[in-house]
């Protein structure tokens, strides 16, 4: 509204204290990116196991939880080191506040990581039956091999809220109008599909053509829908004056404009065409290239979207 704008008010701040800059920085970006991989491989892995016989993807049973385990530990590590009082992290378990998505997420992510760890141990010892044959842990894991399949449906179910809870944290960050729950939830889910399919592409060399084709399809669909949502937010975001003012940091040029469009082209547009063409040509190298670009672009896009709302003065 004209009467509320700077042109009408001619109001200039002439004395104020220094304002905080970026509060949640690259560590939170990395945290979200790693979590997308950690939950995404489980979700996409479950989809592939539903669609195809496990013999078509012989290494999936042990590599899927291993990739998830590594990514989840990166996620947990950076969650911890981003805290200004990391040793007090225990307070989340001792004094939980259940209205906080941070608390609910920490509990769910911890349980999820525990279950993924069990799956990884069982999967790895089953995949290499000669490895540490007399070790007690290996013996127990092999004896309880069926436990993997029993907990897997629960792990898949749990992967969904673990993927989504960060979107609720962002929605609870009510100072940042750009982050709205429905959009962020969908973007988190699509990010998990993107990152999960991209990560699994690297281990799909020996899989059947159909399974690889499915991975390419999931990647193409995820980048397409995620790109469409980013474009919708970028060009047609009339939600509030604050959201529009936030997007000015990208619209007006500068480093975030370059980073945003680099992310869109590298991580979404090019991988879409590469994934679609690899489905036709069955070119593994092309698909791997699409996966690398998608992972790089996803990090860059998340970084821009995390930082720009924090640049708006709140008071």
């Amino acid at each position: 509204m004209l009467e509320h704008g700077i042109d009408a008010t001619r109001a200039v701040v002439t004395m104020d204290v220094a304002l905080p800059g970026i509060i949640w920085g690259w560590m939170i970006t990395l945290n979200m990116w790693a979590k997308s991989i950690g939950t995404g491989v489980i979700l996409i892995g479950a989809y592939l196991l539903y669609r195809h016989k496990k013999e078509e993807m012989p290494n999936l049973r042990w590599l899927m939880p291993l990739i998830s385990f590594i990514a989840l530990n990166v996620f947990l590590l950076f969650t911890l080191v981003d805290l200004h009082q990391p040793l007090r992290m225990i307070n989340i378990f001792l004094h939980p506040n259940w209205t906080s998505a941070i608390t609910v997420g920490a509990w769910m992510a911890s349980l999820f990581t525990l279950l993924v760890t069990i799956m990884m141990v069982i999967g790895a010892f089953d995949a290499f039956p000669e490895f540490r044959r007399h070790c007690a842990l290996a013996k127990t894991a092999r004896e309880h091999s069926a436990f993997y399949e029993k907990i897997f449906p629960f792990v898949v179910f749990l992967a969904i809220p673990v993927t989504l809870y960060t979107a609720i944290i962002m929605a609870e960050s009510s100072a940042r109008d750009l982050w709205q729950a429905p959009t962020e939830m969908m973007q988190m889910l699509l990010a998990a599909f993107m990152a999960g399919s991209a990560a699994l592409i690297f281990i799909s060399g020996e899989w059947s053509k159909e399974a690889r084709k499915d991975l390419a399809l999931v990647l193409a669909m995820a980048v397409f829908f995620s790109f469409t949502m980013y474009m919708g937010e970028y060009f047609f975001s009339f939600k509030s004056a604050e959201a529009e003012a936030t997007l000015e940091y990208v619209h007006a040029g500068g480093e975030y404009n370059v980073q945003f469009w680099l992310a869109m082209i590298l991580g979404f547009v090019i991988p879409f065409f590469l994934a679609v063409s690899s489905m036709k040509s069955e070119n593994k190298t092309l698909l791997r290239f699409a996966a690398v670009l998608a992972l790089v672009g996803l990090y860059l896009a998340k970084d821009v979207w995390l930082k720009i709302p924090q640049m708006l003065p709140l008071s």
């Binding site: 109001a11 905080p20 509060i23 080191v81 004094h95 506040n97 509030s240």
Partner: protein, 253 residues
């Protein structure tokens, strides 16, 4: 009982007495504030005026900081004050991301979140908040908004229609009111921060959150080894050229 605050901006003359009193009473470290008075110049010469707006925690009835705090370090007191327990805070900065008023800071000495508590420790002893006592023109009015006979309740009733809160669209139900405020003073999007217009202080943005000399490793070791006490000088080592460059990249707001 619901304690609230009202500032009559028609009376405020920008002396910053409240700001200084708050700093002293609560030992607020350098580079941080619980209460600040912002100067905003409105209009074009000769039709120009200078406005003063004291800003502090709004002690919202529906406080986003309390909702997002994972360990209930931020909590309500029975009198409506949104209080903070520094001993419990994990320093996740979720509250800083949630507060629409930018009223929470990361204390550089304790590396925990902190904010105005309406001087809860003074209230408990039957005293008024330090900023209320310090105000020479009684622009700060504090009391129980649910008691019809209290000064603040009567003031609100006398100025019906002229009472404003910041960002009502956020549905936080603030218990901090203004009389005599305008869009240009209460809405941060309606005024600009232009380089070179600042009085006394050209530093517009902090380049750190919490203790600037506290590395990630220090955060883990500090409870056992302690860390170097931050002194005044440590907050003055500011690369002005770098700050201006990064600020221009941020769009100059």
């Amino acid at each position: 009982m619901k304690l609230g605050f009202l500032v009559d901006l028609n009376l405020c003359m920008g002396c910053k007495g409240c700001e200084v009193a708050c700093k002293v009473e609560n030992e607020v470290p350098l580079s941080s504030w619980r209460l600040r008075v912002k100067y905003i110049d409105v209009g074009v010469f000769p039709d120009a005026s200078r406005n003063f707006t004291p800003l502090r925690c709004n002690h919202c009835e529906n406080a986003p900081c309390e909702r997002i705090c994972p360990v209930s370090a931020l909590h309500y007191l029975e009198n409506g004050i949104v209080n903070i327990d520094n001993e419990r805070c994990i320093g996740c900065a979720g509250c800083m991301m949630a507060c629409p008023y930018g009223a929470i800071y990361m204390d550089p000495e304790t590396n925990t979140a902190d904010k105005c508590t309406y001087c809860a420790h003074r209230i408990e002893s039957g005293m008024m908040p330090a900023c209320v006592v310090a105000c020479p023109v009684e622009a700060n009015i504090f009391g129980d908004v649910e008691d019809d006979t209290s000064h603040i309740a009567r003031y609100i009733m006398e100025h019906q229609g002229g009472i404003q809160v910041r960002k009502p669209e956020k549905h936080t139900d603030p218990k901090h009111y203004y009389v005599g405020g305008g869009n240009q003073t209460l809405n941060p999007l309606a005024h600009e921060r232009i380089e070179g217009y600042g009085l006394f202080n050209n530093i517009t943005h902090l380049d750190h959150v919490g203790d600037p000399h506290h590395s990630i490793l220090d955060r883990f070791l500090a409870p056992f080894a302690g860390h170097k006490k931050a002194d005044n000088k440590s907050f003055m080592d500011f690369d002005q050229a770098k700050a201006e460059e990064s600020h221009e990249q941020e769009g100059g707001h």
